[in-house]
């Protein structure tokens, strides 16, 4: 196999990888804050808000992401009356689907983080005179994020791999180009290249999160 041939198949795959990385970045940047908002909503003392958030999380975690993506890309436009206005760009639709889905997972992770904080922390803050806002922002949330970090790292690695679902809604990403070349040239090399690119991406993420964990270690 010539080096030229290798480069000729690597180039489109790297372009596809850009799509993968872009989706990952958009989804992670949007779903973490949204997940946090959901966590707060679940804990809201206003019951309808709490119920809505709980049902949302249940539905998002209880159905396949692939189904959700297909629904947003192909299902929404078929709705009567409003369907015509819901024809989204495939990539935009995918970003939306990933964000909405991952937010539910992050919400569960943050909820776990909050529950892991001893009630003595709230009591100590109270007797020192901190108000609710100060207690939340200075005492509880920093600990929650620290506790949640390993789980967030896991979820992020899963997200990188899940981007391959773009394949199913025909957005050209890494796997799409690999498959194209496999079919065209009858070679399995592109699969290995794709695997290696995913491994590099997840390795970078793992290293980043290990660094964050180290950076925010407090024991």
């Amino acid at each position: 196999m010539s080096i030229n041939y290798f480069i000729s198949i690597l180039k489109p795959m790297l372009e596809g990888a850009q799509m993968t990385v872009l989706l990952f970045l958009i989804a992670i940047v949007l779903s973490i804050p949204l997940g946090f908002v959901l966590t707060l909503a679940v804990r809201s003392s206003f019951k309808p808000v709490s119920w809505f958030a709980q049902i949302y999380i249940y539905v998002m975690r209880g159905t396949p992401l692939l189904l959700q993506l297909l629904f947003i890309c192909f299902g929404l436009p078929m709705l009567p009356v409003i369907g015509d206005y819901l024809v989204l760009d495939r990539f935009v639709a995918a970003c939306l689907g990933f964000t909405l889905n991952y937010a539910a997972y992050f919400a569960e992770i943050f909820r776990g983080g909050l529950m892991a904080i001893d009630k003595g922390q709230y009591e100590a803050a109270q007797v020192l005179g901190l108000n609710k806002w100060q207690t939340m922002t200075r005492i509880i949330l920093p600990q929650m994020f620290r506790i949640a970090l390993p789980a967030v790292a896991n979820e992020s690695v899963t997200l990188v791999k899940d981007t391959a679902l773009l394949y199913a809604v025909a957005v050209p990403e890494l796997l799409h180009y690999a498959q194209t070349v496999v079919n065209r040239d009858f070679t399995i090399v592109p699969f290995f290249i794709a695997g290696i690119i995913y491994l590099i991406l997840t390795l970078l993420l793992t290293v980043l999160f290990k660094w964050l964990e180290q950076r925010f270690k407090f024991d």
Binding site: D118, V127, L128, G129, L130, Q143, F218
Partner: protein, 248 residues
């Protein structure tokens, strides 16, 4: 006038009466040891003084201001002002694990008292020296022994310049060989005339440092008095039985 006046305190959890008509006064500079069997309501009583528990009836008056009068609580900002006269030290320290020792001490003065940084730092330095942990200022609590943690927790409470310090079994979570260093700091505070209420199992401390002992059982104060009197000559059978068990 007493610094703390508690009268007819009542609290129940469902059918369980945890506090039944608790009445006592604490004068300025008093060191009061509260003893009694586990489950007798000591923690609930102490925690209600600083509004970690809400009571169902009775009054709590702190230096002339009612936290709660005949079961009716003051307004939230009043409660905040009144409870700020007190500091509290917990059995499990409750230090903030994500903050260094120094940050643990300085957080509340910064956020709540809004004092000048220089003043806050001067005081935290002084208090760390006092508890013998100057070298640990930048360490996280996870690195400290239990005894060190509790000393830091005491210093953190002192940073707010409270008039009264409440302790809920400050040495019960410690290995026996570490209780001494904490009791030493508390003894020093007593010598400096800090007003303290200490729920404790340390009969030695109660005898040696307290000028009054309150014995609680089953949600009631059975008797109270000077430690020499209460320990050597208890009036009630329940007190005798408890002392016999715990002085063994």
């Amino acid at each position: 006038m007493a610094l703390i006046e508690v009268s007819n305190l009542k609290k129940s959890y469902g059918k369980l009466d945890v506090l039944k008509q608790i009445t006592f006064d604490v004068n300025k500079n008093d060191v009061v040891a509260v003893i009694g069997p586990s489950g007798s309501g000591k923690s609930t009583m102490l925690r209600s003084l600083i509004h970690l528990e809400e009571i169902d009836g009775g009054s709590i008056c702190i230096s002339g201001e009612y936290l709660v009068r005949d079961g009716i609580y003051s307004k939230p900002q009043e409660i905040k002002r009144i409870t700020s006269k007190m500091g509290m030290v917990f059995q499990h320290f409750n230090l903030f694990p994500h903050l260094t020792v120094k940050e643990n001490l300085e957080l509340a003065p910064r956020l709540v008292k809004k004092e000048l940084n220089a003043e806050i730092e001067r005081r935290s330095k002084e208090l760390l020296e006092k508890i013998g942990l100057s070298d640990w200022a930048t360490a996280y609590p996870g690195k400290l022994s239990g005894g060190q943690k509790q000393r830091v927790a005491i210093a953190r409470a002192l940073m707010m310049n409270p008039e009264i310090l409440l302790f809920d079994e400050p040495t019960s979570a410690l290995d026996p060989e570490l209780t001494g260093e904490v009791l030493q700091v508390m003894k020093q505070l007593a010598e400096e005339h800090m007003t303290m209420i200490v729920v404790t199992h340390e009969m030695g401390f109660a005898k040696e440092v307290a000028n009054r002992v309150i014995f609680m059982d089953n949600g009631e104060i059975i008797e109270s008095g000077h430690p020499t009197e209460l320990f050597t000559n208890p009036k009630f059978e329940r007190t005798k039985a408890f002392l016999k068990r715990s002085l063994k």
